[in-house]
Symmetry: C2
Subunit: 498 residues, 2 copies
């Protein structure tokens, strides 16, 4: 059969699978945002079944053969070959897993997510522990069904960030430990920035209005996306033009929703700006986690915590919270948004201590997979590491080991990409500065220029390139974490007058 005809067959099959992804993705979103609790069991059983259907379609020997045949065709155009390459790579991550195990694992993670929420609300790790241990157990078991050169934790690290291994992450985190821990110590000893006003009462309804303004400023396309509310903020792009962003409102915390919304809008913008010709291909979802986090953290930290970002928005915010903010200047607000304080919650951590939160999770995950830590003692290990690296010890599980959703979904290997993405972002910003006066764009309400730069240099490619290649395309250089270290050192030395 002609290559073109085979490709058409392939596209038909991908269309079918995309239909399942769409409705399952919608149902997941619905489930996390509004679906009633008592319908959960009925829903989860059926979602697990359909996940199994997708698994069957993806691992159908005929479909595997079709893709492998196509991939080896000499006359397959380069772009199509590249798209297939990533698809075949991902296929490796589950093609040898027995279906029963796959479905069991999916159902387990759905139920674990429920258990995690309950445990977090009840502030009781023991309620979640049996689920976590089972997830760890199955995650290890599934490694037996992986072929290829990688072993153990490396397998999962590479799933989320192709090319990354324990060895490479160790080097990255060594640098962070070596350079940032002393800086953080110095800052702890310096005069502190007043952040107390951020914990005044900020009614959720007013926060909602502020989020609308922030997303308008970031030129979010409301005809192609929505902002919902969940326990844990996330972004889910059901298609290029259907980007779902969520946040959570805490009425005694002004900063939480603001920076989670800027962060998630960064993810959504990446998806929204993938070139049309790639948006219905496999590479639409193939951006690595590190690359995706680089875009969310670039918006959150490098732009959102920049004073110029607030030149237009801060006066609007004061109008929404006149009693709470009339005595606070823009500079005080921006300083508070950048204040570095060793704290317990990752998602609310400042830019400087943030990578240490990740380092802790990385060390724990690494220990889980190399067997060097006792999985029955995870809560203590968590608390010990916070004491060691950040000098504070969680006193309750919801501010400790239960704070993050990730492990309830079995996403081992994901966390490290948060720190890595922040590292990528520093290098992207450095490159962007050669072409754009970032502060002028922010101040002049020209966020579109920044989005355009990101689109042209990064977003339009989707996940077409490996992260390492993509970084080189966008910046002309290999990834160099020194940009990240330099940026943090310079910024925080100035802020704290060290």
């Amino acid at each position: 059969m002609k290559t073109e005809e085979l490709w058409k067959q392939y596209e038909e099959q991908r269309f079918k699978i995309s239909a399942y992804h769409l409705v399952l993705g919608t149902t997941f979103y619905d489930s996390d945002t509004i679906a009633p609790e008592k319908g959960r069991q009925y829903r989860n059983e059926r979602m697990a079944y359909l996940e199994g259907e997708v698994f069957d379609m993806e691992t159908d020997p005929k479909f595997i053969e079709l893709r492998e045949t196509l991939y080896n065709r000499e006359d397959l155009p380069e772009q199509k070959k590249q798209i297939l390459k990533w698809e075949l790579k991902d296929l490796e991550s589950f093609r040898y897993i027995p279906k029963d195990l796959y479905v069991e694992y999916n159902e387990l993670t759905m139920n674990s997510n429920v258990a995690w929420k309950k445990a977090k609300n009840a502030n009781d790790y023991k309620m979640f522990e049996p689920y976590l241990l089972k997830i760890i157990d199955l995650s290890k078991k599934m490694l037996q069904y992986r072929k290829g050169d990688l072993q153990g934790y490396d397998v999962y690290l590479s799933d989320y960030e192709p090319g990354m291994t324990v060895e490479k992450y160790d080097r990255f985190f060594d640098l962070i430990r070596e350079k940032l821990v002393p800086l953080i110590k110095k800052i702890s000893a310096a005069p502190q920035i007043d952040t107390s006003f951020t914990n005044r009462f900020y009614p959720a309804d007013q926060q909602r209005k502020m989020m609308k303004k922030i997303m308008d400023y970031m030129q979010f396309d409301w005809e192609a996306g929505v902002l919902g509310e969940t326990e844990h903020p996330f972004t889910s792009s059901l298609s290029k033009y259907d980007d779902r962003v969520t946040t959570h409102y805490y009425e005694n915390n002004l900063l939480s929703s603001i920076f989670s919304v800027i962060h998630e809008t960064g993810h959504a913008t990446y998806n929204y700006q993938v070139a049309d010709e790639l948006a219905e291909t496999y590479v639409f979802d193939n951006m690595s986690s590190g690359m995706h986090e680089s875009q969310s953290r670039l918006m959150e930290n490098y732009l959102g915590r920049n004073s110029a970002f607030w030149d237009n928005l801060y006066p609007e915010m004061v109008k929404l919270f006149p009693q709470q903010l009339s005595d606070i200047s823009q500079q005080q607000f921006v300083d508070a948004a950048n204040a570095s304080v060793c704290s317990l919650i990752r998602t609310e951590a400042d830019e400087l201590t943030y990578p240490l939160h990740i380092l802790i999770r990385y060390e724990i995950e690494k220990g889980i997979f190399d067997g060097s830590i006792d999985v029955n003692d995870l809560e203590n290990i968590w608390n010990d590491k916070y004491e060691e690296y950040l000098g504070i010890r969680p006193t309750c599980a919801s501010e400790g080991i239960l704070q993050d959703v990730h492990w309830s979904g079995g996403s081992f290997g994901y966390f490290p990409t948060y720190a890595l993405g922040s590292g990528y972002a520093a290098q992207f910003i450095h490159a962007m500065r050669k072409d754009l006066d970032i502060e002028a764009c922010l101040s002049n309400n020209e966020f579109g220029k920044i989005k355009e730069w990101l689109k042209e240099h990064i977003h339009k490619y989707g996940g077409y390139y490996l992260p390492q290649q993509q970084i080189k395309i966008a910046t002309g250089e290999e990834f160099d974490p020194q940009y990240y270290i330099d940026y943090l050192t310079e910024k925080y030395s100035a802020l704290y007058k060290l």
Copy 2:
């Protein structure tokens, strides 16, 4: 193979199909409530594909054979036989339709729904007309693929209300025409009730709070349902414990959201109260439209427009709208909620003129299918009939032929069930009064007693019985529309002091 084993196979297949219904239902709900416009094409194409998958599963010759074999097994328990009976009946409605036509029709209705919304907003019937004509065309075409004794419009009437035909509906509507038109004329000549305060400004946010109170009063289980917002209110039960109710807020109309919410909560309550042993079988969704409307209209009109319903709620409402309602007594409010005025919008029509709105739609649908009216002149025909029966002529399409969503979904034969359901409801209320002091229940905040009565006499059976059987079980009598006529005559003669 043993009957039990066959039944198990059957249940497995139904489980699979129910998984598709769940995710498609969720995606429909999402699409109507929050999904962004620009994602619609991508979404609709995929939903249409999955509808086709469901069609394939339902019409799979092996599955048909399995059900027919089971149905004919002597040792199949009666309950299971009955469940299968309804499933096989519904199968008849699509089993001979070519799949391409089926998918085309589904895609058409999804796109028509979008076109209808746009046309309604633009107040331009011409924007919707080509879609409607195409739907009519395909609806007629699909009749060719129906077997059985019924022809034309009777086929669709019987789909929504088994046992009903043009002949029977003609008799029902003749009675309405004969008895209610003169009553309405008398009322038009009598002194009118002041309803002007219902058009004061009622902010949507306050209305949202009021809906919560109303649904609390009706003992809606918030862990098993949600209230969303759509252009056109509806209820979609994704499972027994996942009942989605929607409404629409008009800030210059107090009554619209209130009575649509009470109405939809009636639908949701029916689904919620189906017996557990039936809730995951085919009869969960098998209630006829007339039966379902009887439950929604029973709540909306017979309970919601009863003064005792407001003994607890009206003071709460005045607290929410102190400026708008402080000069209005509960009696004035209830009178206004019952005022009969010939008006253009069906969903906001009073109880008395409501069946005439249905009569008009019934006559038009009947004419479409028997060829007696020109489908290219529907807007005029619509307007003429409003002038004839209600004495007022729509001056714009959004208040005329574009007001209802139903035709955009191809739901011909559905409208008549609204009037029929109101008729059933009168008979149910008459029976309920023998066991319960309804006004005392309402006044004493004991809505649960009413729900319990409905559960025991109607809801728990789901769609297990034919409407005619169900009415006899609940009331001990055959359906008799005279209860409805008597109720309306008595109520409105008293209200207008005729």
